[in-house]
């Protein structure tokens, strides 16, 4: 059987599984559509949350990001996991106790204000729509590489599958498909990693392999890696970075993670408050299986690639272009890997040609510039081929990448559609709509959101990559602080919260636009995006915590000068602080 048929079979089987689950888990009520009837087992919810959270970026890009610079990008590892501690301790149990369906609904009730709720809906939609674009483009890439179809055909197929289970099953269908998608993606991610770890270090557990001895060289793997990358003019893999930038960026990712609505609503699906706490722990366990493997994949893949190019050591001549391995040929076709023979010697020289200290060595060796550019995303996708694993593992990577993209997309789409049908239609525009009517509106909103996401995926705005920074920055600066104040303070009132959210939202947007261009349109930035121009040296991608701080300051300051919230709101805060009575609120 050829590779193409194998990929098609494995991806097809995974899609059939998702659709089978959708038919089994149809939603019959709004409680099922919005919150899976609050009947999800906390361990299952942990798995679904892990799939919901781990996007195409986690699955495909993260190992490559870490491989590229090493220690400095540990910020992604800490930032994207540390947010779960904030969720478990500061938000999830209390929002589960509140016992409603959407994040803006809590903000509207706690701050007794339709205006606050509308601002929250706007933040939610901006965050979720920008995030969903990345997922759709990720799915498109996986389709075009592994199934050799046009990106647009691939996208329509992906949308059709999401349509079936998200429109039919709502949160209920999404939850159980996410559980299946987690299983697919974690198997796909870890199998190649285990083989590579055994090949390089003899240790079958990749996170342990990362700190083990390199079998051939007889020195620790990381020491060997530091040696070869510095010998090619790159910075040491374990070398130090700017402490301020790392701290702020990690903080931005952590707070942003805790403020993402599609993650928060997952905790509405468990039966009890205690389950919401356990569930956050299980989610992090399942996430950690991938996040502990990723840095090992990154380091090992980088070492493997350098060894492939310099089979006799970096001091010796590089491999001849005609002798390059098959996986390089495969990936050259996609354009993600490029070779240009600058000095015409027919060999592939790969080194850091921007390092001033290395130019002399390069000239001595007759090198005239780096000849190989490798897109970070290749590391994970080509891993099975680099490790010469059987064809079914390659098919599995395709299914895993698609599972990661689709599971996150579905979670985001649910956050968007429930906010439209519940916050806007049911509780604002058509208050006396029937249960059946609301369920229909929810399904239509879901279908509409899928269509918009697909169209945006087909014509991704040029700024797609930067919008991720926007999503995290806004979640950190708007949603997270207002939720935290709603739970931990009885004094913050409607005007304080509304102004706080707007301050966080607007100032964060302005800071991003100043360096990245108005609405991310290239060339419209007012200042060049270089560290010398940053306010107190803060990069735009790490501005989230500053926005959050301003949000807190504005909300507390204004609340202190205005009237305290009414008695019934203070009682609401007291009631969400204790678990007892959680079942009653939802009619279980």
């Amino acid at each position: 059987m050829d590779q193409y048929t194998l990929n098609l079979l494995i991806v097809g089987a995974s899609f059939a599984l998702y659709i089978g689950i959708a038919i089994w888990a149809r939603a019959g009520s709004t409680a099922e559509f919005y919150a899976a009837n609050r009947g999800v087992n906390p361990v299952m919810n942990g798995m679904a949350t892990a799939a919901d959270w781990m996007s195409a970026a986690s699955f495909i890009s993260m190992a490559g990001l870490i491989a590229g610079v090493g220690y400095i990008n540990s910020t992604y590892l800490m930032g994207w996991t540390g947010g779960y501690v904030l969720l478990a301790l500061l938000l999830a149990p209390y929002l589960r106790k509140f016992g409603k369906y959407t994040v803006p609904q809590f903000i509207g009730d706690r701050f007794y204000s339709q205006g606050a709720r509308l601002v929250a809906v706007i933040c939610l939609i901006i965050i979720s729509v920008t995030y969903v674009i990345g997922q759709m483009t990720g799915a498109g890439v996986a389709f075009s590489r592994f199934l050799e179809v046009e990106v647009s055909t691939g996208l329509w197929i992906a949308s059709a599958v999401v349509f079936v289970y998200a429109v039919l099953g709502g949160m209920k269908g999404i939850t159980y498909t996410q559980v299946a998608q987690y299983v697919v993606l974690i198997i796909a991610y870890t199998i190649p990693a285990i083989f590579i770890s055994i090949q390089l270090t003899g240790n079958p557990i990749p996170p342990l392999g990362l700190f083990s001895t390199h079998t051939e060289a007889g020195v620790p793997l990381l020491q060997k890696l530091d040696q070869v990358v510095t010998d090619l003019g790159f910075n040491a893999y374990t070398g130090q970075g700017s402490m301020l930038n790392m701290t702020l960026f990690t903080l931005s990712l952590m707070i942003g993670t805790a403020g993402l609505p599609h993650v928060i609503i997952r905790f509405f699906t468990v039966p009890r408050v205690a389950d919401a706490r356990w569930s956050a722990g299980w989610a992090l366990v399942f996430i950690a299986l991938l996040y502990l493997t990723a840095p090992a994949v990154g380091a090992m893949a980088r070492l493997n690639i350098i060894d492939t190019i310099f089979p006799n050591g970096v001091e010796q001549p590089a491999v001849e272009y005609e002798q390059r391995p098959d996986w390089m040929r495969t990936w050259e076709v996609t354009g993600l890997l490029k070779f240009e023979d600058k000095n015409g010697d027919g060999r592939i020289q790969y080194y850091n040609d921007t390092a001033t200290g290395f130019t002399e060595t390069a000239t001595q060796r007759g090198w005239s510039g780096n000849e190989l550019t490798i897109n970070n995303d290749i590391l994970v996708l080509a891993n099975p081929e680099i490790a010469q694993l059987p064809g079914w593992v390659i098919g599995l990577i395709a299914a895993g990448g698609l599972a990661a993209a689709l599971s996150t997309a579905a979670g985001l789409l649910l956050a968007i559609s429930s906010s439209i049908s519940h916050d806007l239609v049911k509780d604002w525009l058509v208050p006396n709509i029937s249960e059946k009517g609301e369920l229909l509106v929810a399904r239509i909103a879901m279908a509409g959101a899928i269509l918009v996401a697909t169209l945006l995926g087909l014509n991704p705005p040029g700024f797609a990559a930067q919008t991720v920074a926007l999503a995290f920055g806004l979640a950190a600066a708007s949603i997270f602080p207002v939720l935290m104040m709603g739970i931990f303070s009885k004094r913050v009132n409607s005007i304080g919260a509304t102004v706080g959210m707007l301050v966080g939202l607007i100032i964060t947007c302005l800071y991003l636009f100043t360096y990245l261009g108005w609405f991310f349109i290239p060339g419209t930035n007012m200042m060049e995006n270089v560290p010398a121009n940053y306010l107190f040296g803060i990069p735009p991608t790490a501005f989230g915590p500053i926005g959050a701080l301003l949000n807190f300051a504005a909300a507390f300051g204004i609340s202190a000068m205005t009237q305290e919230p009414p008695r019934h709101v203070q009682e609401l805060v007291e009631s969400i602080r204790v678990p007892r009575g959680a079942g009653a609120a939802t009619g279980h």
């Binding site: 590892l77 501690v85 301790l89 990362l210 620790p220 990381l222 130090q240 990690t250 722990g281 602080r577």
Partner: protein, 86 residues
């Protein structure tokens, strides 16, 4: 819910454990993983230093332990104050 002073004591105990957990959360990631890494550079771990290990693995493992510890602690506290879900 029980009377007011008991519910205040419950909330105060919750804030206390949250604060302790978040101090540990910050020390392992921002501390050992980033700011205090130079201080830990003398402790070798598999070809590099302890700070690198905390940044890439240690902090994640501590995060998991923190969440499970907090969940167990709060379950006990809920029962003690009679505010658990029956």
């Amino acid at each position: 819910m029980a009377d007011n002073s008991s519910s205040n004591a419950y909330w105060a105990a919750n804030i206390r454990i949250i604060t302790i957990c978040l101090v540990i959360w910050a020390v392992v990631s921002y501390g050992f993983g980033i700011l205090l890494r130079p201080l830990l550079s003398g402790i070798p771990v598999g070809g590099t230093d302890l700070g690198f290990w905390f940044a890439q693995q240690g902090s994640i493992l501590v995060f998991i332990a923190l969440i499970f510890y907090y969940a167990a602690y709060m379950n006990r506290l809920d029962r003690e104050f009679g505010v658990d879900e029956q």
